[in-house]
Symmetry: C2
Subunit: 199 residues, 2 copies
Amino acid sequence: MAVRPGLTAERLVRAGAELADEVGFEHVTVSELARRFDVKVASLYSHVRNSHDLKTRIALLALDELADRASDAVAGRAGRDALTAFADAYRAYAVEHPGRYTAARFPLDPQTAAASAGPRHARMSRAILRGYDLPEPAETHAVRLLGSVFHGFVSLETAGGFSHSAPPAAETWPWILDALDALLRDAPASHRPIKADPS
Amino acid sequence: MAVRPGLTAERLVRAGAELADEVGFEHVTVSELARRFDVKVASLYSHVRNSHDLKTRIALLALDELADRASDAVAGRAGRDALTAFADAYRAYAVEHPGRYTAARFPLDPQTAAASAGPRHARMSRAILRGYDLPEPAETHAVRLLGSVFHGFVSLETAGGFSHSAPPAAETWPWILDALDALLRDAPASHRPIKADPS
DNA sequence: TGCATCCGCCTAACACTTTTAGGCAAATGA
DNA sequence: TCATTTGCCTAAAAGTGTTAGGCGGATGCA
């Protein structure tokens, strides 16, 4: 009543991201956000089109932050160092910001995805892999392998998938990075294409 | 009015799984399920505790089906054949049943998880890896690597993450399996643990 | 066959989230 | 100072989740 909260799309999105980290992205709700700003729900609809729009914006924020972190981590490094730094940045972000990390996986429509930091992620992967000197299409395959391993590991870890057996996930992570590095160094030699010959 | 629908927890869960494949697991709703059975919403609550319970049961069904498929695929195979069959079964299930596959990732409380087919999956991974003769703890690391790669790839693929660039994901998949096989065969030799020495 | 019980689905009601339409008052700027 | 814009409001409707309690047909027993 006295002072207006001063809502803004940016402030809402930022608060939404924090909310996601606290309660999980799937529980981010327009109502809860309004509650946190001590404002009526309908007021948010002047700044955000709808719930889906809000989630999309949180996703874009997360993708941006993640790309920034990864970019900082990789700067000035190459080869195995770059790979490790990239991977660690990725995993650290997911551990520190599980809600945002989930948000980064929110399905975006093609145009939004193209305008997001998604392509930056892909370019960074490629830049790192350039140090391994893979011929196409192996480099593309490798980009996808890295994406799969990082995302797979991190999402299984944050879902608690590794927490009920020894050794701790923190020990598996460097082992995997080591293995990936070795794999990529030897990839050209070891790559024998699989024939899908039905007869 | 005339004939009772004959609701059952099992029938609800099975219909819920189909619904998940049609509209996505996140859009599976008690109301929609009631609509499909032409029954009032409250009626479902005699058979299922609540929405969370329903989703949990769908998750358990999916985990079971997936384990059955993987088990069938692996039967009678070993080494690289087993690895490929296992991985293909995994990916095929996700492609055919995207909603169920997502359901299989639904977070379960520890007791439910322990009673689920989750442990079966882990045992199958281990059984396959036995063919590669890895020393502990490498075998555990490798179990996690396989889980990460398979889950990561499949979830990125079904999210459309690979659909906007060439070559098609179907070509990357065998490349990755090939790489994993090579990696596991050489793993003992190439494994140089990473020192996390802070001083 | 008749009766009591139980089970399965129902109605009713409440709480919560999402979304739209329209209003009022504070901030802005000429 | 006043007109306009902006920002948050009230009101209301639709959808989902959940609980409480009721009714009638099916079932079991004498």
